[in-house]
């Protein structure tokens, strides 16, 4: 996707009622001959929960480290208000980080860890005591104040790392895959707590993850990074419902990609065809499995029907995913209500408007 098309996308910018906190302008980063980030432009609003989502190697952690100041961008600028952020050393930036492995100081107690930022800023001791107590209370770690990091569990270390960052009242909190070291149950619980905490403190969170589900649950907006470039920046609903590219559609949730040809207001995809208002030419659609239904028999306008035979059935609890061979090399995945007895031959239908045209993702790397 080129910079010009991105500029037209309103979701690239936070909704207009919030003022912009951080503006990332044309940031690029290369390590030797290895291009890690290219031409990243992104704006983060006050109080926003923005997730930088991407596979490993997509450059998401590098982008976060550039904001924190641990890496220097090869080109581009960071602006926080009228202040040029990328020329400041990390210890002058009003930004705090929660590290992937928490990075708690092992020789200090929980309390001393949380007090660290205030101590180095030489705040009065009475203020430190009070703010540390508040921060520990907020993350429910008061009872462990005197413990050393090695004496508490991973989830508790996570909370201390949060308190240690938030106690400094940063303008922005950066979180580098903070939940990846936790087991699945605790992670889900922390997702909810983290989101609630973010609403409560009202600080902008920039959250890095490779887990698309986590991104969907927590974020106000998701910035999807692929091989060092922004693929799409949008709200979770929009990015799921209106993926910009085939890559986005496949990365976020399950999807069926249908490639076809538009001619004279009619699109043909293999055996299927339906009316559409798109210019003539090749076209690619993303069709979510939940939009494919088993035919009810009743004909309704604007639906597309296709017959096929079930080749695979995967049970997912409340729903199941069935793979249906529709001939002409087209295999569709549909999400249906769980049903133990399913006949071999089925008829599927979907509404034409649920097939979302997406851009073919450019080959990279």
């Amino acid at each position: 996707m080129s910079a010009t098309t991105r500029a037209h996308n309103p979701a690239e910018h936070p909704s207009s009622d919030k003022s912009i906190l951080l503006s990332i302008r044309n940031v690029a980063k290369t390590f030797g001959r290895n291009v890690v980030l290219r031409d990243i432009s992104l704006e983060i609003a006050e109080g926003e929960f923005l997730t930088i989502l991407g596979e490993s190697g997509s450059g998401k952690t590098t982008l976060l480290r550039i904001i924190a100041g641990f890496e220097h961008a090869t080109s581009g600028e960071l602006w926080m208000g009228a202040e040029r952020l990328d020329q400041q050393p990390p210890y002058r930036r009003k930004v705090n980080t929660v590290f992937q492995h928490y990075a708690l100081f092992p020789h200090l107690t929980v309390e001393e860890n949380v007090a660290y930022g205030l101590r180095v800023a030489k705040r009065p001791e009475a203020e430190i005591t009070q703010r540390v107590a508040e921060a520990l209370d907020k993350v429910k770690m008061t009872s462990h104040a005197k413990a050393k990091p090695s004496q508490i569990s991973g989830g508790q270390q996570q909370r201390v790392a949060l308190a240690r960052a938030l106690v400094n009242r940063p303008k922005m909190l950066l979180l580098d895959e903070p939940l990846s070291a936790l087991d699945a149950n605790l992670r889900r619980q922390m997702q909810v707590e983290l989101k609630a905490l973010q609403r409560e403190v009202g600080i902008a969170f920039v959250f890095v993850t490779h887990d698309q589900e986590e991104a969907m649950v927590m974020s106000d907006r998701i910035a999807l990074l692929r091989s060092g470039e922004l693929e799409q920046v949008a709200t979770p609903r929009e990015i799921y419902g209106r993926p910009a590219t085939a890559y986005v559609a496949q990365f976020i949730g399950h999807t069926n990609l249908l490639s076809g040809e538009v001619r004279g207001g009619v699109v043909r995809c293999g055996n299927l065809s339906w009316a559409i208002t798109l210019p003539d030419g090749p076209v690619l659609f993303s069709l979510r499995p939940e939009h494919l239904h088993l035919s009810s028999g009743a004909e309704s306008p604007g639906t597309v029907r296709v017959r096929g035979c079930v080749v695979h059935q995967a049970f997912h609890g409340a729903t199941e995913l069935i793979r249906v061979d529709c001939g002409a090399g087209m295999i569709l995945t549909a999400r249906t209500a769980s049903e133990s007895r399913l006949q071999q031959d089925v008829e599927l239908q979907f509404r034409a408007e649920d097939a979302v045209p997406v851009k073919q993702s450019a080959e990279r790397r």
């Binding site: 641990f70 050393p89 990390p90 002058r92 930004v95 990075a103 180095v120």
Partner: protein, 282 residues
């Protein structure tokens, strides 16, 4: 997991080694320290505390011990002062040159101790490199006498020899300081200096203690540097032990001093290990 026979076969050699070459000699020393020498220069196996009484009463032994500890303490201090910045630079800022610089620190350890001690002799002597140079540039008229055959020469030589021993544990400790802690400290607003004193230095204390112990203990027991470069004013406790076991032929008194030293050093090691444990977090 392993059979009894296997365990016996594997553990026997070190046990035999330690018994024959360490435990039995120490036991012999222990016995000797309670025996005495007859006027006809034979060792009398009569048990008594005379050697220890003599040690406590005669000032020369105390003075020599105190001087030895003073020299060892200075060697320790100078070694740390030289080794810490070097180790810190290598660990944090050397980048790609790290391995090369590390080897450069290690290489002097391959050179014989004796060669290095003699090298200092030729540097510090009246006709040595340093005095010749100083006279050549007319900084002095006559050779400086305090350079050689003095405690100064001993401290200088021992510092040169034992600095790598102080360097190695400090470097290892600094290498083990997780770099994300340094980043976390900067992230929380600490300047590089604050980060050093509050995070990096405390976490390197086990290495500093280990390096200090090496430098102190090895210097304390040294007898070659004072023999070659110390002169009368640079005599150390080990020189007395050597002469008691040699020309003076008073093995019992020598054994008593050695045992006293052993107790001193072992308690030092005990305390330094306590400190190291207290400051290790892994």
């Amino acid at each position: 997991m392993f059979s009894r026979a296997y365990k016996t076969v594997v553990t026997a050699p070190p046990l035999i080694w330690v018994t024959v070459f360490l435990l039995i000699p120490y036991l012999l020393m222990f016995c000797y320290s309670f025996w005495s020498v007859s006027p006809t220069q034979t060792i009398v196996h009569s048990w008594n505390f005379d050697n220890y009484k003599e040690l406590l009463q005669k000032g020369v032994y105390w003075q020599t011990l105190l001087r030895s500890m003073g020299i060892a303490a200075r060697v320790m201090l100078f070694s740390l002062v030289l080794a810490y910045p070097l180790a810190y630079f290598l660990s944090f800022y050397a980048g790609a040159r790290k391995d090369l610089l590390y080897q450069l620190v290690i290489i002097p350890l391959w050179v014989s101790y004796l060669v290095r001690a003699y090298a200092w002799k030729t540097i510090l002597g009246s006709d040595g490199v340093l005095n010749t140079l100083l006279q050549y540039v007319h900084l002095t008229k006559h050779p400086l006498e305090f350079l050689l055959y003095s405690p100064f020469a001993v401290v200088l030589t021992l510092t040169h020899i034992y600095t790598p021993f102080a360097f190695l544990p400090i470097y290892a400790a600094l290498e083990h300081v997780p770099r994300n802690l340094v980043e976390a400290s900067h992230d929380l607003g600490a300047t590089p200096a604050q980060t050093f004193w509050k995070i990096i230095f405390p976490l390197s204390i086990p290495g500093v203690v280990a390096g200090a112990t090496f430098a102190f203990v090895l210097s304390l027991g040294d007898f070659l540097a004072p023999l070659l470069l110390g002169g009368p004013s640079g005599i150390m406790i080990s020189n007395i032990v050597v002469s008691l076991f040699g020309a003076a032929y008073n093995w019992p008194l020598g054994a008593a001093i050695s045992l006293g030293m052993l107790v001193l050093v072992v308690s030092l090691l005990f305390f330094s290990e306590r400190i190291e444990k207290k400051w290790s977090f892994s």
